[in-house]
C-alpha cells in the first residue's frame, strides 16, 4: 500500500538555507546540497525547496543549487517561491525540479495553474495555499501569509484543483511556528472533498503531532515541516519508526 510521506522543507536565500540549522556532524549546515543529501540518506520521501530570494542574482544561485541537488539526490524535488508564469516553471524544471508549487502567482493569475498543467501535466503542478481561520471558515493569504485576500480557502482550493493542480500543500498560518500540532480541522475540511494528494504543513512540534495528523485525518498523504527537522529535535528516521510503531504505513 502507498506510504505516508515525510517531507522536509528548505528555505533558500542567495543559495543558502535560512532558518538556522543545528546539526551535529554536518559541516556546513547552511549548504542546501549537503542538507538535502543528509535528509535523503535519513529517509526523507521528498524535498521541498522554497526560493525566498528577491534579486535576479539570488535566483541564479538558487537554480545552481537546484541543479547540484538534482545531480546528487535521487528523490523527488518540489520547488516553490517566486513562480509567476510558465517561464518560471521552465526555469526550475530544466534545473532538476520534478514538481513546481505555485502560491501568490496563482492568486494573481489563476490561469497559470491550467497552463502549466496542460504543458507539463497535473502531476507537476502543486497548489500551495496559506490559510488562516476567518469566522466559520478559512481565508487565503498571499505574499508569504502577510496579506488577507478575503478569498474563502475551500473555494479557492476547489477552483485550483478544477484548473488542474495535481497536489495540494495546505499551510496553516494559525498553527505555523507554534509547534503544537497541525491544523486538523482545516485539513479535515479540505480532505473531505479534495481528490488530489494533500500535504499538511505548519505546526509540527513532535513525532506525536505526525501520528495524530495521519490518525485523525486519514485523507492526508504527507506531512511537511522545516525547523523540527533542521534543529534535530526529531530525525526523519526516528519519526518514521514512531509512525510505523503507531501502525501508520511509511517507507523505512
Amino acid at each position: 500500500m502507498i506510504t505516508k510521506r515525510i517531507i522536509p522543507c528548505l528555505d533558500v536565500r542567495d543559495g543558502r538555507v535560512v532558518k538556522g540549522v543545528r546539526f551535529q556532524g554536518l559541516g556546513d549546515v547552511s549548504d542546501p546540497v549537503s542538507l538535502a543529501r543528509h535528509y535523503s540518506e535519513g529517509g526523507a520521501d521528498e524535498l521541498v525547496f522554497y526560493d525566498i530570494t528577491a534579486s535576479a542574482e539570488g535566483r541564479k544561485l538558487f537554480t545552481d543549487v537546484l541543479r547540484e541537488t538534482a545531480a546528487n539526490v535521487f528523490i523527488p524535488l518540489t520547488v516553490g517561491g517566486g513562480i509567476a508564469g510558465l517561464a518560471d516553471f521552465a526555469r526550475v524544471l530544466e534545473s532538476g525540479a520534478d514538481k513546481v508549487s505555485v502560491n501568490s502567482g496563482a492568486i494573481a493569475d489563476p490561469r497559470i495553474i491550467g497552463e502549466a498543467a496542460r504543458r507539463y501535466g497535473s502531476q507537476c503542478v502543486v497548489l500551495s495555499v496559506d490559510a488562516a481561520r476567518a469566522g466559520d471558515g478559512w481565508h487565503v493569504f498571499a505574499k508569504g501569509g502577510r496579506v488577507d485576500t478575503g478569498m474563502d480557502a475551500l473555494e479557492w482550493i476547489r477552483r485550483g484543483i478544477g484548473e488542474g493542480a495535481g497536489e495540494l500543500v495546505l499551510n496553516s498560518i494559525d498553527t505555523d511556528g507554534v509547534k503544537r500540532g497541525f491544523d486538523l480541522p482545516m485539513l479535515q475540511a479540505v480532505c473531505a472533498f479534495a481528490a488530489v494528494p494533500v500535504i499538511a504543513s505548519g505546526g509540527a512540534g513532535s513525532a506525536a503531532d505526525f501520528v495524530r495528523l495521519f490518525r485523525e485525518v486519514p485523507g492526508v498523504d504527507a506531512g511537511l515541516a522545516a525547523s523540527i527537522f533542521h534543529f534535530g529535535e526529531v530525525t526523519i528516521r526516528g519519526l518514521k519508526e514512531e509512525l510505523a510503531a503507531a501502525g501508520i504505513h511509511v517507507r523505512l
Binding site: I2, F74, P76, E94, G96, D98, S122, G166, D221
Partner: protein, 203 residues
C-alpha cells in the same frame, strides 16, 4: 553509451544525473543516428499518452525505436515511456502505442476501491512476480519505489515482472526479451531505483 530519448517531453536532467551517479555515460538525444550507436536506450516521459505518441512519430523516433529493438538492444521505458511500449492506451481517446509489450494502458480510477486518489503519487512497495528477471537482479521483495501515474498496464501476461498494491494489483514493471518498462521513476527512487538502472546497464 546510454541514450536517453529526447522527444520534447519532460525534464531529463535527473535521469541523466542518475546514470552519472552509477558511473555510466548518458547522452540525451533525439538524433536517430546517435540512438542507433547507443548500447542501451531509455525512453522517458511524463504527461499525456496521445501527445507524447504524436511527438515520437513527428520526429520519426517510433520507427527508430522499433528498429533498435529488432537489433536486440536493451530498451527501458520509464513512466509514460513505459506506457508507450504497449499496444494502446485509452487516455483521452484511444491511441496506438508501439506494440512492443503485450497488454494495454487503462485508467486506474474505475478499477480502484473507494477512497483511493488518482494519480497515485508516492512511494509504494514492489512485489516481484519474476524475481529471476535480470532487470530485478538487485531488487528485493518489498523495495519501495516512487510512483506518479493515473493510468496503468493491464493484460501483460507473462511479461509482468513486478506489481505494486494500490487497492488492486498495479503493474509496476514489465518486460519481454530486450524490451522493459517501469511504471515508477527509478531515477527518483533512491538506492532502490539506482539498483534497477544498474541492472539494466548490465544487460
Amino acid at each position: 553509451m546510454i541514450a536517453i530519448v529526447d522527444y520534447g517531453v519532460g525534464n531529463l536532467f535527473s535521469l541523466a544525473s542518475s546514470f552519472a551517479a552509477i558511473g555510466a555515460e548518458a547522452t540525451v538525444t533525439g538524433d536517430a543516428g546517435i540512438l542507433r550507436t547507443a548500447s542501451h536506450v531509455v525512453l522517458p516521459g511524463v504527461g499525456a499518452f496521445g501527445d507524447a505518441r504524436k511527438k515520437l512519430s513527428l520526429r520519426g523516433l517510433d520507427a527508430v525505436l522499433c528498429r533498435i529493438v529488432e537489433e536486440g538492444k536493451p530498451l527501458l521505458g520509464i513512466c509514460l515511456g513505459m506506457q508507450l511500449l504497449f499496444a494502446r492506451s485509452s487516455e483521452f481517446g484511444t491511441h496506438e502505442g508501439l506494440g512492443l509489450l503485450p497488454g494495454e494502458i487503462t485508467d486506474m480510477a474505475p478499477r480502484l476501491p473507494g477512497g483511493l486518489k488518482t494519480p497515485q503519487i508516492g512511494w509504494n512497495a514492489l512485489h516481484l512476480v519474476r524475481p529471476e528477471h535480470p532487470l530485478l537482479k538487485y531488487t528485493k521483495e518489498g523495495d519501495f519505489v516512487y510512483f506518479v501515474h493515473s493510468y496503468s498496464a493491464v493484460g501483460c501476461g507473462d511479461a509482468l515482472l513486478a506489481e505494486t498494491e494500490y487497492g488492486i494489483p498495479v503493474t509496476a514493471a514489465a518486460g519481454r526479451a530486450n524490451v522493459m518498462g517501469c511504471q515508477f521513476h527509478p531515477e527518483k527512487s533512491g538506492d532502490a531505483g539506482l539498483s534497477i538502472l544498474r541492472a539494466f546497464l548490465e544487460l
